[in-house]
Amino acid sequence: MKMLRIILVFLSFSMEIHVEAEWVTLLNQAALIQYPADCVEVCGYKTFPLRKYTIEEGKRKITLGSDTIILKKASEIYAFVSGEALFKGVVAIELPVGMLKVEDEKSLIYVSKRDDKYLVRTLLGAVKVEPKGAAKGVEIPQGYENTISGVIVNGFAEVGFPISIDANEMIYKWASMYDGSKKQFAAEVAVFKEIHARARNEISQVYTEISERMIASHNEQMEKEKIRREKDRRERAALQRMYERKVMGLE
């Protein structure tokens, strides 16, 4: 009888675990969905939540993060719709706010949409940004990140100031999207760290220069303000004298 009880308890646990396992498998059955289902030229791709997927086309590799949507418009042109993605190889990425062009095969760039802004990070190689409406494009050198936001009153999309990549956050994201071996990832991260250190060094010099310029500009402004105040004071004194002459002199 005791034996039977033990068996019954064991059976009830096994059945519970079995049902749980089936549910998890069901939810994560697919990693990528494409639309239209049988598309050839123009295709929309979407990853499921908590899943990633890598699309390989020759030397080009596009890794889509969780819940990401991209649209393939032509052989080398993709429209980035939402989420986050890593693009490796020659590719042109269309955004509502402009176009990103990668011309180096070894380039690796990260694109994500954050609120109304598009964040572009160049892990390896540079990317050319053509903001919508702007006469000239800008380049994001390797190791830097920049944001592109909507068209402003001047009639062109606004590109932010380049800064060195937030390495801690990026490596964490990269690791979650990486589909190769750990050893391979460690080697790629080592290369990225060198690039990042160089970029950080460069940007610190730029910031030093900018802050020096700002201080100089502030000092100049203070000097101008001092001159203006002195001029105002002299003008007020002259006016005061005029009032005194008029009233005291009984004009």
Partner: protein, 216 residues
């Protein structure tokens, strides 16, 4: 032993046929299909939103140029951000109006300056130039010998800016008007008030001088 064997047999039989009879497989397939459809709808709506955003950015790109035209709805859309539309407002600032009135006062066009200062006082009730505008209006009215109006404006000035030095100068003028009208006691009281209320040495000196003149 037989019971144990039977239990194990029943368990294996149960797990093998459970899915077959429960319909779980069909439900799972249906759920997967529904989920796929849902995700396809999400792609469709996201791409539609992307295209809309793309179009909005294209419109925003050409909009500022079109605001040069006099098309009212388009201008209204961009009016909040057009720099060129803000420029005409400069002409309406109190400083510009005050400088213009002061120029007329300096050129001794008192009638014109009086009208302009009265207009500034009426229009820009919170302007930093208000005490000076009042004083110059009082002075202008004195110059054209409109003493009634001058006294009226001076009273307002004393009410609103009692501590301003210009009010002190105005009060000297008030005393002089009373002197002209042979109301010496009132003139004396005003000069005394100036003497005690203001720190400006010249102002005090003048009030004392005028007070002594009446006493003589």
């Amino acid at each position: 032993m037989f019971s144990l064997g039977l239990m194990i047999f029943l368990f294996v039989a149960f797990t093998s046929f459970k899915n077959h009879f429960s319909g779980l497989r069909e439900t799972k397939e249906m759920l997967t299909h529904t989920q796929t459809l849902l995700e396809q709808e999400k792609i469709k709506s996201s791409i539609a939103y992307y295209e809309l955003e793309n179009m909005r950015q294209n419109v925003a790109m050409v909009l500022p140029k079109s605001t040069i035209s006099k098309d009212y709805p388009v201008r209204m859309l961009a009016s909040v951000s057009r720099d060129s539309l803000k420029k005409p407002l400069e002409g309406f600032s109190s400083t510009a109006a005050f400088n213009n009135a002061k120029k007329q006062f300096r050129d001794k066009n008192y009638k014109k300056s009086n009208a302009l200062f009265a207009d500034i006082i009426r229009t820009y009730k919170y302007s930093i130039h208000l005490p000076e505008a009042y004083f110059l209006l009082v002075e202008g009215l004195y110059q054209v010998s409109d003493y009634e109006k001058c006294l009226k404006e001076l009273n307002v000035m004393i009410d609103q800016f009692p501590e301003n030095e210009l009010t002190g100068f105005g009060m000297i003028r008030m005393g002089q008007i009373f002197e002209k009208r042979e109301r010496l006691d009132e003139a004396k009281s005003i000069y005394t008030s100036v003497l005690h209320s203001f720190e400006n040495k010249e102002l005090k000196k003048q009030a004392q001088f005028l007070l002594d003149k009446i006493d003589l």
